[in-house]
């Protein structure tokens, strides 16, 4: 048992924190305010190998691991939740399933460009009538010669519009229930595929969240990911990995809010002394840092298990559940500590509070995480 990061992981944390502080933090408020997708920073991250961290060099990745990946999302989210989720959705929901379930030809075709950031990735499972009940898919894929014809729509798709590669789940056999769901790799220019309405959101406002529309969209059979009917299993396993990313995002937001609050409470003076000297501040802050550190251990433990090749589904669910609810609590209290200033956009904590909320919802709500955890307990 060893709770220390390896030298490699420590060096990586130094690098990503340096990058986040110098490149991401200075524009985070503007990214939020003006809903700017930070494309320039995505390009910079791609050059440094941040857009495919756990992928081996044979497929164009830098050959890092999932702990490093979780550190990347944590450190980016510590200063900008938007940037954290762009990397997380790209890596966990598009790069990872192609690496884990794709055939050699698909891996060689898609992974190098995704890892080098020439292409951004996205994932489409959620539909207007298939949210937590993801099995209720209405998008269909009908076999037609050497292709499948997709019809239907997906909603709330992160990175939509900027992404070139989309992992799309669709029903190939309605009578077979979840075993009738198949996964496809759909490229941006595929005829019949278009981007619909862009959502206006409470938080992570710089990330692009849109509807995807498929109208007789012809996807060649070589873009079928995994087996026909194996899509639901791919989607669930992909979301297991995704939850490590979102847990890391939530963790980063919580730590960012704590760091800001430590700084503020030291500077802010009331009743003749800095408010950090009040026991109420110290006790509450101690509780929040303890919860954040517990979240960090859950995130690292889930990432470690993924790297070790053992089952980590419940671990990722626990990490996401605990980290996201901690992020919400920490950021809400961070605003409270900042008082009236915290409610204004002069300080970053209100943004962090808005960004934290989504981590309890996407890639499986907190309720879904509890279902996953309980299902393992009562197996």
């Amino acid at each position: 048992m060893n709770f220390e990061l390896s030298k490699k992981q420590q060096l990586f944390r130094q690098m990503i924190r340096d990058f986040a502080e110098k490149e991401v933090k200075p524009i985070a408020a503007e990214v939020d305010e003006k809903e700017i997708f930070p494309l320039e920073n995505v390009e910079k991250m791609a050059k440094l190998g941040i857009m495919g961290i756990p992928i081996p060099s044979g497929y164009g990745g830098p050959g890092g691991d999932n702990i490093m990946y979780s550190i990347a999302v944590e450190e980016l989210s510590r200063v900008c939740g938007t940037t954290g989720v762009i990397v997380s959705a790209h890596t966990s929901l598009c790069v990872a399933p192609i690496y884990e379930f794709g055939n050699e030809e698909q891996k060689n075709r898609f992974l190098p460009k995704l890892c080098k950031g020439e292409w951004i990735g996205a994932f489409g499972l959620t539909e207007p009538n298939a949210g937590t009940d993801a099995s209720a898919q209405q998008t269909t894929a009908i076999e037609d010669g050497d292709s499948y014809i997709l019809n239907g729509s997906k909603i709330f798709i992160t990175n939509a519009g900027y992404a070139h590669v989309y992992i799309i789940l669709a029903m190939t056999d309605k009578s077979a229930g979840v075993k009738g769901i198949t996964a496809f790799i759909v490229e941006k220019e595929t005829p019949g595929f278009s981007i619909g309405k862009k959502e206006l959101k409470l938080g992570i406002r710089g990330s692009s969240t849109c509807e995807l529309i498929f109208e007789n969209c012809r996807v060649p059979k070589e873009n079928l990911l995994g087996k026909v009917g194996g899509g639901f299993s791919i989607a669930m396993k992909t979301l297991d990995g995704g939850r490590i990313g979102i847990a890391a995002q939530a963790l980063g937001i919580a730590q960012g809010a704590l760091d800001e609050t430590v700084k503020y409470t030291k500077e802010r003076k009331q009743f003749g002394r800095s408010i950090s000297q009040f026991q109420n501040t110290q006790f509450q802050m101690a509780d929040l840092q303890t919860k954040t550190e517990a979240a960090r251990l859950l995130v690292r433990s889930a990432a470690f298990k993924k790297d070790s090749g053992v089952s980590y589904s419940a671990d990722a669910a626990m990490a996401k559940l605990f980290a996201s609810e901690t992020a919400m609590e920490v950021t809400t209290k961070a605003v409270q500590f900042h008082g009236g200033y915290g409610y204004t956009r002069e300080y970053p904590v209100e943004r962090m509070m808005r960004d934290a909320k989504i981590t309890e919802i996407y890639e499986g709500t907190s309720e879904v995480q509890r279902m996953v955890i309980a299902a393992k307990m009562y197996k």
């Binding site: 060096l11 690098m15 961290i53 890092g64």
Partner: protein, 259 residues
């Protein structure tokens, strides 16, 4: 082209706090970094490598933990690294340090040696020029820019009045300013590879240096007194046009009864 970059691990002085009672530096928990001028020098070497092709070696003298800055340098793109570490190096002032580095360098091949102008923990700016003197090679200090063309280095040297542009042939030593370059970030792949690379570790015997010139024994510097500078207030900054600036300065000077 073969380039050797001398780097130093230093405490991040921007993170150092002063014990208000004793007036001494609180070094606990202060992160160690590559000295900023040296990191800029490494960036200059890596830029030359990209433009003209070069083999870049980084070298440092320090305790075994200085391995960390060598790994960082390799993760940025240096090809290999040498760590001079030996209890006999301990307590070295600038002269003993430059003797040790020059001894190690004299056993290597190079066209260009790059050092930072000075280290943020000592601020002497002596080690680079001393190395050049020991090795008896030309040197250009306070370098803002360096380029290479047909075996000639063109070097822009900062002076109090402006710049001098100088040309020099290899072998050459330059000391680089931190303002010369914005050092690149380590890459993920660079980090993954740097961790597995071997760092060559050398002691006094390996570099065949004269022991009497090493460490405390070889250090004529005597510290007369150590004290911390008085804390200055942050001051006021104005971002205004020149004409307006003159007015502000005059009114501030009048406010303080200086004029």
């Amino acid at each position: 082209m073969k380039i050797v970059v001398c780097i130093k691990q230093v405490p991040d002085t921007t993170e150092i706090k002063i014990n208000p009672v004793t007036g001494t530096l609180i070094r606990d928990g202060v992160p160690s970094i590559i000295n900023p001028d040296d990191k800029s020098g490494l960036e200059a070497a890596l830029t030359l490598k990209e433009k003209h092709g070069a083999h870049v070696t980084v070298i440092t003298m320090g305790p075994p933990q200085a391995d960390a800055v060598l790994r960082e340098a390799m993760a940025m793109g240096a090809d290999d690294a040498i760590l001079l570490t030996d209890r006999k190096f301990a307590g070295a002032d600038t002269l003993a340090t430059s003797h040790a580095l020059a001894a190690a360098l004299s056993k290597m091949e190079w066209d260009l040696i790059i050092t930072g102008r000075q280290a943020i923990d000592g601020d002497t700016a002596q080690v680079g020029p001393q190395i050049a003197e020991h090795l008896d090679i030309p040197q250009v200090s306070y370098v803002q820019d360096i380029d290479y063309n047909e075996s000639i280095f063109t070097v822009k040297k900062k002076t109090e009045e402006g710049y001098q542009v100088l040309e020099a042939e290899a072998p050459l030593l330059v000391t680089v300013l931190s303002s010369a370059n914005k050092p690149r970030y380590m890459s993920v792949k660079g980090i993954v590879n740097a961790i597995d690379k071997e760092v060559k570790v050398s002691g006094v015997a390996d570099i065949e240096a004269e022991e009497s010139k090493m460490g405390l024994k070889g250090s004529p510097t005597k510290v007369h007194k150590a004290f911390s500078k008085g804390v200055k207030s942050a001051g006021e900054q104005f971002e205004v046009e020149e004409e307006e600036a003159v007015g502000i300065i005059i009114s501030k000077l009048k406010e303080k009864f200086i004029i």
